[in-house]
Amino acid sequence: MGPIAVNRIYAALSALVLAFVVLPLVAIVWVSFFANKILSFPPTGYTLSWYARAWAQDAFRDGFITSVQTALCAVVISLALGVPASLALVRYRFPGRDAIQTLLLAPMIVPGIVGGAALFMAFIELEVLFDVEIAGTLPGLLVAHGLIALPWTVRLVTASLAGTNRSFEEAAASLGAGPLTVFFRVTLPLIKPALVAAALFSFVISFIDLEKSIFLVGPGRTTLQIALVSYLEWNLDSTVAAVAAVQILIIGALLLVSDRYARLARAF
């Protein structure tokens, strides 16, 4: 088999995989314009009314706002914890370093349901111990979302730090800058692209989370994803498809922007 044939097979396989990933997304956007009363095929006509209907639903509007707020907090938490942690992991050698690195990346590997259940149970234990409410509260939700976003921030920022020559920081130090000054005046500006990417990615990861949030939301405070699931329990129409299409648009745009700052593929 010649190299051209191999290339063709490779290209065909790649196209197949891409189609497998993209087709459902295309389908849901398509369905969101169907005029059918109940989700079904083929379309009887096309309409934009599902989008109007989605916006009219309080559950979706409130869910959207909660999700955005939560995601913004997740960004702040994951950067505030992830950047110093990455710096320590990349720049210093200390006992337990590998263990900490694994631990920080763990939320990425543990199934969301398991992580969510674990958090929920831990919160309940803490509630019993300290007699405070955590599980159904906003702080509880925010901690969980910070946790979901953290591994991605650590991944992106450690990759960027590892690729940054230490001599810039050494130069600043030898010119008289203390460790904090070096960090804020030299290190942070150097890894800015990774910070932007980490922020955007944290936002997206938090925004799309369902599994962890489902354990931790309180009454009257659901995220958009949970609102969608609840809606699907009793309804089967294209409103959900319309909400999904809007989300695909927003998240796609965010990922495109973050990829301009730091090649996501390079961090993994």
Partner: protein, 353 residues
């Protein structure tokens, strides 16, 4: 006064000894080159002086002040990095101003000093540019200005010329020396290039495997290598092994007896170091007592010179270097030609094996 004194410096990494008990006194205003192959510990020493790497054992003092445990920011040293390490997000002017800002100088003073520092390296007109908009040579000069503007006690340069092309390297060599002499600043310069070390430094310290192998003025180190390693590093390609028999007689491993300088050590196993430039071909030089017949084994054209690998019937191999016809040298010899090679006894230096 800023004499730099290294007292029994040791740097140990987990499994290896990078610097093995090095002591060195560098006088105020002296320009010292640490010369050696990669991995010999020269850069580690420089980085320990700067404070980037902690010292395992020993003491570093500058002008009597013990710096061994001080962080880099408190040492007042100018460091020139191999990659220049100009802050990419700051303009040239901001880069040079950085060290002065850290010293909390008034704004007006900073502006004045930055201007002067950039003018000294003839880059006053580029203060607004970003480092990436400059050529390699310009970046090197900005790095130098940035390191010098803080009026450091010591200037440390890590392979400052290795990223420049040949022409620029020559200019920069002269420029570094001029600036160093005019400021009278104590300077330590790390390089793996013997030519750089010889042409820039007041004193050359040759290092090998974490230790100082030999030190002295460029001429001392170049003309009187005291070891096989230094001779080889100084570009002596002929290291002919054998035994010194006393009375200026030296018996080569291949059997021939040649004359060596009168001051040579008495008896024992040595190598004679003879520069390829010192080997004459068919010269008929009456002073060249060491004359041997050989055959041209290989001729390598190198532009200004041609290198001939010569082989005697006994198997001795000697490299001879002659000017090429391009610079008025004699007509080239062909491989296989028989020649008489010779060198003056005083051109050979005995070095321990």
């Amino acid at each position: 006064m800023s004499d730099v004194v290294l007292q029994s410096i040791v740097k140990r990494y987990e499994t290896m000894l990078a610097v093995d008990n090095v002591s060195l006194n560098i006088r105020q205003g002296e320009l010292v080159a640490l010369l050696g192959p990669s991995g010999c510990g020269k850069t580690t020493i420089l980085r320990m002086i700067a404070g980037f790497v902690p010292v395992s054992e020993g003491r570093i003092t500058v002008g009597g002040r013990d710096l061994t445990r001080l962080p880099p920011a408190k040492r007042n040293m100018g460091f020139g990095f191999q990659n220049y390490a100009l802050f990419p997000h700051m303009s040239v002017g901001e880069n040079v101003a950085f060290g002065l800002e850290m010293r909390k100088l008034p704004k007006a003073d900073i502006a004045r000093k930055v201007k002067l520092a950039l003018e000294r390296v003839r880059l006053g007109h580029l203060a607004e540019r970003l480092p990436k908009q400059l050529s390699g040579g310009q970046q090197q000069r900005v790095a130098l200005a940035r390191a010098l503007v803080i009026e450091p006690d010591v200037l440390l340069l890590d392979e400052p010329l290795s990223n420049l092309d040949a022409q620029l390297r020559n200019d920069m060599k002269l420029e570094i020396r001029e600036i160093q002499h005019s400021l009278g600043i104590t300077t330590i310069f790390v390089t793996h290039d013997q030519d750089e070390a010889l042409s820039v430094a007041d004193r050359v310290v040759v290092m090998r495997a974490g230790r100082i192998e030999q030190q002295g003025t460029p001429d001392e180190v170049f003309a009187h290598p005291r070891s096989h390693f230094v001779a080889e590093f100084m570009g002596v390609t002929n290291l002919l092994q054998g035994r010194s028999e006393g009375a200026e007689r030296f018996r080569l491993a291949t059997g021939e007896v040649v004359a060596v300088p009168a001051a040579s050590p008495a008896v024992g196993d040595f190598a004679i170091a003879v520069r390829p430039e010192s080997v004459s071909l068919n010269a008929g030089d009456p002073l060249a007592r060491n004359a041997l017949f050989a055959q041209v084994d290989l001729a390598t054209y190198r532009g200004l010179v041609i290198d001939y690998r010569l082989k005697t019937a006994s198997g001795l191999i000697v490299i001879a270097r002659r000017p090429s016809p391009a610079v008025g040298g004699p007509a080239p010899l062909a491989a296989g030609e028989r020649v008489q090679m010779s060198w003056r006894p005083e051109a050979g230096v005995l070095v321990p094996l």
